[in-house]
Amino acid sequence: MKLLDRIVTLIAAILIGTLSLMALSQYVGGYIGAAGDWLYDRLMYSWVTTFLVQIAVIIVMAYLFEMTIRTGKSEGKMLKRTTETGDIFVSVGTIESFARNLAKEVEGVQEVDMRTKSGPEGLDMVLKVAAAKDAVIPELVSKLESRIKEALPAQSGFPVRSVKIHIRSAV
């Protein structure tokens, strides 16, 4: 789930909760009724705030609707190879999982985050590495680069054009 999806889902949950409380306050007393009345007074005291809440609800609803019917975007994150029998699609996530495991096999690598872009000449990979405290960084970078450039094409069948390595931290 994308970050934006999560944020919108959170806003939707808050909006639904708020509107439910306001609706409940019409029929229920006690704390729930008081909370609903308080929210009603804050949000619906003028046509401007009412209008803004309604606009927010419409935008969130539209986004959630788009989320439910969203298709094909994951296909953009697939690498494609055509053979005689048909096409082979490999998700970028699968390639990254392979690469992450390969990277962790290199001595001195503790954690790896990566981003991958695919182009006609091969994969461009950016690795953000948390190195071990005692690791010799130039040596680690060299080993990591050669490991990814050699082993990943051998295992995935997709050539790697460039590997950029950022040492994020030493742990």
Binding site: F89, V90, T94, S97, F98, N101, Q155
Partner: protein, 130 residues
């Protein structure tokens, strides 16, 4: 008297032979899925948990001009050559469906959607992309 239970109708059937034999799409999917699981390096078929119960869901079949187009989703084992495994899946699925069902398979598209690290040192989880 209790009514006799009637089997649910299959969603789609394919009339693929001259002698009028009809076969459910699901059967083609099961044959394709089992053929895919037989290939070395394939961890699982489909995105669900590993097992044979629902593997047919990892295969989709369409009929075009009296031949089938199959889409097979697989997870591969870490350390295997993805391209080679996917190529073997294409061949095995095509061969199995053609030999068992007599249906011509035009295209087998393979979607590699996950990787399993159970066999590799230091990692025990399978990662599946949906």
């Amino acid at each position: 008297m209790a009514e006799k239970k009637v089997a649910k109708p299959v969603k789609e059937t394919v009339d693929y032979t001259d002698d009028g034999v009809r076969i459910s799409n699901d059967v083609i999917c099961v044959v394709g899925a089992l053929a895919a699981t037989e290939v070395d390096g394939v961890y699982n078929v489909g995105s669900g948990p590993k097992g044979k119960k629902n593997i047919y869901k990892g295969v989709k079949v369409k009929l075009q001009d009296n031949s089938a187009v199959c889409d097979v989703s697989i997870s591969v084992k870490f350390g295997e050559n993805i391209k080679e495994v996917a190529g073997n899946v294409q061949k095995n699925v095509k061969r199995s469906i053609e030999s068992m069902l007599g249906l011509k398979v035009n295209t087998v598209n393979v979607h590699v959607i996950g990787v399993d690290f159970e066999g590799s040192a230091g990692a025990k989880t399978a990662v599946t992309m949906k």
